[in-house]
């Protein structure tokens, strides 16, 4: 059994007809329930729920504070290699773009690590493009050996790997995995992933489950909102998270909410994800999965992030450069444009001003 079986069932589900059927009364009724089922999730993502965002937000905030407290986990990604063999319509790292590629050697990784750790950050997320030749598992492992000297939690956001490979990295010190399906709608997926191993939808879909099976403490999934109808994509993402949470209860499952950002190419998404839509997705995730982490990246602008922190978000990135080696030099090409360029100390101050405690450290490497 894989989530793929469920996904095939969902492909026959009449989303287009069902979403408009929910009424204001349905939403009011759902808000009195202590626990949400799949039908409630669908309702929370419907146009009707969009008319009750304030009431839903009140409930979501209450759930978040009682589950997680008045705290916000901070982390920073470290981009170590932008070599990539894939061609994805929406990404600047696609191999079709001709720019000087860069891969950090271990001295450079260490310099980046020291610069990031100097900001107080203790949770690091290691990112590479997909290139078995340039950034194989052995390279990732070397990076982890360096990073573990400076950080207390190491996550990876890399190409899909096997259980054995995840396990190997786990033994080296990795405790969490972030992997976005990008889009759950298979036809759109095929259209956007033009060349390279990333075309294999199923290999990617099952990767978070392989991370759970490898014993990772935390696994984060997400759809890149905007690539296909956001209501449908959010619904399926939440069901994927629920599937993982039920099957691997010892793994903390989190959801990320990336929204399409401008990049090098000229691809324009076909589903417009407004700020209201983004808020609606966060709230639906929170109420359907009260214990799931929700991660917010610097793709979103500062003024919006300062509001979203009250609605269900539990982790946010800070002090980010999406270019390889971007913390010591500014030479590289960013993967996408970030919108919130504030430093870690500025984010820290903003959180305190908003009545939230920034949490820099929430784990110790145990291997």
């Amino acid at each position: 059994m894989s989530f793929y079986d469920r996904l095939l069932e969902l492909e026959r589900f009449p989303f287009r007809e069902r979403f408009p059927e929910y009424t204001d009364l349905d939403i009011q009724r759902i808000l009195t329930k202590p626990k949400m089922n799949e039908d409630d999730l669908l309702a929370l993502l419907s146009p009707a729920a969009g008319r009750h965002l304030e009431a839903i937000a009140q409930k979501a905030q209450q759930v978040t504070r009682s589950q997680f407290g008045q705290v916000m986990q901070l982390f920073t990604p470290i981009y170590v290699s932008d070599y990539c063999v894939n061609h994805c319509e929406y990404c600047s790292f696609s191999y079709i773009y001709d720019f000087p590629r860069k891969k950090l050697d271990m001295d450079e990784v260490e310099k980046e690590a020291i610069a990031i750790a100097g900001t107080g950050i203790r949770h690091i997320l290691l990112l590479t493009g997909e290139s078995p030749k340039d950034s194989p598992v052995s390279y990732m492992k070397e990076c982890v050996q360096v990073l573990r000297k400076h950080f207390s939690s190491i996550g990876i956001e890399v190409n899909p790997l096997s259980v054995q490979e995840y396990h190997e990295l786990g033994e080296a010190g990795v405790d969490s995995l972030t992997l976005f399906q990008e889009v759950y709608h298979q036809e759109t997926y095929r259209k956007l992933h033009i060349k390279g191993p990333k075309r294999n939808f199923r290999a990617r879909l099952d990767a978070p489950e392989r991370g759970c099976a490898a014993g990772y403490r935390s696994v984060t999934i997400g759809a890149l909102l905007g690539l296909h109808d956001w209501r449908q994509e959010a619904f399926i993402t939440a069901l994927h998270a629920n599937y993982l949470q039920s099957k691997y209860p010892d793994c903390e499952i989190s959801l990320s909410i990336p929204r399409f950002r401008p990049f090098l190419g000229d691809y324009h998404p076909d589903s417009d994800v407004t700020d209201s839509a983004l808020v609606q997705v966060i709230l639906a995730y929170r109420l359907f999965l009260p214990r799931a982490g929700i991660t917010l990246s610097t793709r979103e602008p500062a003024h919006l992030r300062d509001r979203l922190i009250h609605l269900g978000v539990t982790k946010m990135s800070a002090g980010v450069s999406t270019a390889v080696g971007g913390h010591v030099s500014d030479g590289g090409t960013p993967q996408f444009e970030i919108s919130d360029g504030r430093s870690v100390s500025e984010i820290r101050e903003m959180l305190y001003q908003n009545g939230l405690q920034p949490v820099f450290k929430d784990w110790d490497i145990l291997v």
Partner: protein, 256 residues
């Protein structure tokens, strides 16, 4: 009232244990400690960040407090043991609140792994306070494994749902010859008082204080509730009657 709680080689006058998570600022913690009168405070080792200013939780805890580091995040006995040893190495004393949780959805403890970890840590000289799902058999095994107390949950962590496990906790208080400390789920001072009236040795709580509108006011309320509940227990509660019992309908004829 001369009522001392002897545990782990310490003599405590307060039976309210508090936590450090979920506060919007660590700087509130010394004030909460003062308002609650607590002498024992639990700290998640995973959050301890010794090299970082205001976020270093330990610098906000007065030296007079007994530190109760906890193994939050441990999913197996082995992980809990490693975390406990890290806490000891970090100079946080030899008390450990053992939490082994495999279930991230309800955060319910795994009693079997907890018993395994207790055996190892008690043998290493730790004062082991295991968080557990209320179960008499497991509690007795924890005692045999060397636990200094047992800490059954009132309801799931952070739920503020109160003493939902009252019947099972009551049995444990009756039958286990160790202090029973109700840990997790207590949302209201009246629920803390209820646990103490039943004979619990202490209560441990965090969310109810940390997420209150006024944490200091709530800390004081819990302090009073725990004291009141304990005094009621020591004073011997009167029997509970379903109806008023003014006369003797069955045997009154004997004195006629």
């Amino acid at each position: 009232m001369n009522d001392i709680f002897q545990i782990g080689g310490k003599a405590l006058t307060s039976r309210l244990f508090i936590g450090t998570g979920k506060y919007n600022r660590n700087t509130l913690i010394p004030e909460v400690i003062a308002a609650s009168g607590a002498e024992v405070i639990t700290v998640a080792l995973r959050r301890v960040n010794p090299e970082w200013g205001e976020e270093n939780i330990l610098q906000h805890i007065p030296g007079s407090m007994t530190l109760l580091p906890n193994t939050s995040g441990a999913r197996t006995a082995e992980e809990a043991i490693r975390i406990a040893r890290l806490a000891k190495a970090a100079d946080m004393g030899n008390w450990i609140k053992l939490e082994v949780i495999k279930d991230q959805r309800y955060l319910l403890p795994d009693n079997i792994e907890t018993i395994r970890a207790t055996e190892v840590l008690a043998a290493e000289g730790f004062v082991v306070l295991p968080y557990m799902t209320p179960d008499l058999g497991a509690a007795l095994r924890l005692r045999d494994a060397g636990a200094a107390a047992v800490m059954p949950l009132g309801s799931p962590i952070g739920s503020n749902r109160g003493l939902r496990t009252k019947e099972l906790v009551g049995i444990m208080i009756e039958e286990v010859d160790l202090p029973v400390i109700v840990d997790a789920g207590i949302g209201r001072p009246s629920e803390a008082a209820e646990a103490m009236e039943m004979g619990a040795a202490a209560v441990l709580l965090n969310t109810a204080i940390a997420t209150a509108r006024d944490p200091l006011g709530m800390a004081a309320a819990f302090r009073n509730a725990v004291t009141a509940g304990r005094l009621a227990y020591l004073s011997g509660l009167g029997p509970v009657q379903q109806e008023a019992a003014a006369s003797s309908p069955l045997t009154g004829f004997l004195s006629q």
